[in-house]
Amino acid sequence: MTTPRLQLAHVTKRFASLVANDDVALTVEPGEIHAVLGENGAGKSTLMKVIYGALRPDAGEVYWNGTRVEVRSPHEARTLGIAMVFQHFSLFETLTVAENVWLGLSRQVSLQTVREGIEAKARDYGLTLEPERPVHTLSVGERQRVEIVRALLTDPQLLILDEPTSVLTPQAVEKLFATLRQLAKTGCSILYISHKLDEILALCQRCTVLRAGKVVGTCHPKEETTASLSRLMIGAEPPRLQHRERRPGEQVLQVVDLSLPKIDRFGVALENVALEVHQGEIVGIAGVSGNGQQELLAALSGEDPRCREEAVLLFGRSVGRLDAARRRQLGLHFVPEERLGRGAVPGLSLAQNLLLTRTEALRALGWIDRSALRRQAEAIIGRFTVKATGAGAPAKSLSGGNLQKYIVGREIDAVPKVLILAQPTWGVDVGAAAQIRGELLALRDAGCAVLMVSEELDELFEVTDRLYVMAKGRLSPSVATAAASVELIGEWMSGLWPKSPEIPLLEKTGATP
């Protein structure tokens, strides 16, 4: 039997009262693609940070190629041969690909060597990458490739990838998987962190499942099903959604020929976007992030009131220049993508954060009825099972997923007439995600018009009635979800949709060159 590439035994990491990793064991063989599966908050990220030297464990041993090691810093991890690609890229937008890679390497190497190295690695693994392109011109998928090539240039023996597909089109995911399989063949081990079950089934040879910081099982994904994996992960199967026949009513939200110049150098300009949402339907917008979704949503919510008055119609009324509060008074509620700093004020309590969008607890002269506010917050915390110390807990003390539950809950609880959501279940655990989707369907059945932007195609196919696709600041025509396929939407995500003659069909786009 070969020596394992990496072996963890009894690794424990505590944060104050919370045990993030509890007696964790993990073995990764050479050349193995090993999945670490778990809900948000299960301790996956903490464990990876321990391996990568960004965190020191409180107890336990780490063996590297059979030798006990103590990884004290990411620098030491890289020296050992451990590389990591983070979910959030650390690239300088104004520098070129080669310069970005060069910055992360030791200083003895010349830029020319780096350039050649990038080209060689890109050729070996079939990654298209031009070393001289400035990073701000790259799509998100290409940026991820920069990170991967940067990791590969250190010739790692173990590559850690943290939720790498959340930013990719289905086609780009396939390309990434091909690269990873090829890499594994050369003997490099891969630790693949994800909560997407189908990806793990498709890619990984073994899978370690974490729940609440503990290892609840190690399995061979080939012998499992999504249902059995999700049982392992959350201890129960998520409830199936009751998807009833939709009965769309009147059109309530309409976007007419909306064009907006980019707000800064790295923004996306919107071009001739047209969109409509009716009462009693859920409309989805698919697309790789960074293709104008943020800009469109800001124009719809009122945070960006630059557009023409009559470009956005709410109940037939031109609202293009109204601010967010005025549109909310008309019944339009919005859940933004960023929770801290936009959806919630970090330093304010959960109760006070209600006041951003809710005014029920206000009395004459703007007096805040604090007990009413607290009761309101507690009701939302209870209904959406938000894990918090109470209504007085500051927003920043919550985990991302819990804060998301609270913010989504705050807007759903307002019984809006129109609800717009960006990534409604992003970072939320499987059980809560199912609950949020269920609440959205209930809202729809009650006559609310729902518009959601999501990167998760599964989610869009599960809850929406109609789909649009966004690419390069343009919006596709809509297609009934029942008539759409993942392949079709994936193709449209590259900007190739029919019936829009101004788009050349063979245009090379950033997302899938």
Binding site: A324, G341, V345, L356, I368
Partner: protein, 357 residues
């Protein structure tokens, strides 16, 4: 090499104690300074820290000096919490003084049937109007032309100062004043009602305390107060909620200008009784330190106003009793602010020594 590293969870207790630690450091520095200047440090410290509290007269004087500081610092705390960097309370104070003094002068020349209690509300109103007008210039320039309010509000201090000089050297000069740059003494009916017989402490002090309570209620119990405070720490959340940044700009500047103006009017009609070119004593600038030492909290502002008033009085006493330079007050105020900022830095960050970057 020294590096600052963010602490994962800054201590809340340390945040509250930080002004106290800063005060202890300042007292330490003061003791050393007295030694270097060849004075007995115990005597020096007692002049600064004990004498201002000693006896009814001393206490009333402390309240009198604290009044303008409380009023100015409350307005500044509101501004700073709204992310509006008004550092021109001094100018707003002076204009409030000119408006209040002008009204008092008018009543002195054309007597009306009003006693002190009847004149007081008019005086407060005049001061508030003057200060708010001066601050409105800053708000307007920021709102219309996106002019930097820090620079504009500071520059307006010098304009206000020169305007005051022009008035007392020119049109408002007392014709029987032997050419001194000052107005005639105001009529007795324009004085601020006093609280303790024989002492200068006046109705301004309870008014300032009342304003502190009102500010506290406004900031922490009303929707508008909450809206103002979102724009600073979370501008995108403010836009998401639809809270107007223009409203925050105007409200905070008008209120803080008005409060500084009231302080100016009370100072002129109260202890001074006439207008001179030297109305202020630097209250508007000292109030910036007061606001930060008071953690931008109304109660904190009241406490730190008393503290800084103590330094002001202590400085005057040190000059007359042990022959120390008057500039010492400014030195101590500066040391206090620096110590506070240093304490706050170490609460948020910790020092790391490293061999190499």
């Amino acid at each position: 090499m020294i590096r600052l590293e963010a602490r994962p969870s800054p201590s809340r207790l340390a945040g509250i104690l930080s002004p106290v630690i800063a005060l202890v450091i300042t007292v330490g520095v003061a003791a050393v300074l007295f030694l270097v200047l060849g004075k007995d440090p115990m005597r020096g410290l007692s002049v600064f820290l004990v004498t201002p509290w000693n006896g009814v007269r001393a206490l009333t004087e402390l309240g009198l000096k604290a009044t303008p500081l409380i009023l100015c610092s409350l307005g500044l705390a509101l501004c700073f919490r709204s992310n509006v960097w008004n550092i021109g309370a001094e100018g707003q104070f002076l204009i409030g003084g000119i408006f209040g003094g002008g009204l008092a002068l008018l009543v002195t020349v054309h007597p009306v049937a009003l006693d002190r209690w009847g004149f007081f509300p008019l005086l407060v109103l005049a001061g508030a109007l003057g200060g708010a007008l001066w601050a409105a210039v800053v708000a307007l320039l920021r709102d219309r032309f996106n002019a930097n309010e820090i620079l504009v509000s500071l520059m307006m201090v010098y304009v206000a100062d020169l305007l005051l000089s022009w008035l007392v050297f020119g049109p408002w000069r007392d014709p029987k004043g032997f050419n001194f740059p000052q107005t005639m003494s105001f009529a007795a009916a324009t004085g601020v009602p006093r609280l303790v017989p024989g002492m200068r402490l006046n109705l301004g002090f309870p008014l300032a305390l009342l304003v502190a309570v009102a500010t506290w209620l406004f900031l922490f119990r009303t929707y508008r107060g909450m809206q103002l405070q979102v724009g600073g720490p979370a501008p995108r959340a403010a836009r998401y909620a639809g809270f107007s940044s223009r409203a925050a700009l105007w409200i905070s500047l008008l209120v803080s200008g008005g409060l500084a103006g009231i302080a100016g009017a009370l100072e002129v009609a109260g202890p001074m009784g006439q207008l001179t070119p030297y109305v202020s004593n630097g209250y508007g600038f000292t109030a910036i330190i007061v606001a930060f030492v008071g953690r931008l909290h109304p109660l904190g502002c009241v406490l730190s106003s008393v503290l800084l008033a103590m330094f002001v009085i202590g400085g005057e006493l040190a000059q007359s009793r042990i022959g120390l330079p008057a500039a010492l007050t400014g030195v101590f105020q500066g040391v206090l602010l620096f110590s506070l900022l240093a304490c706050d830095t170490f609460i948020q960050f910790r020092l790391r020594w490293r061999a190499r970057a």
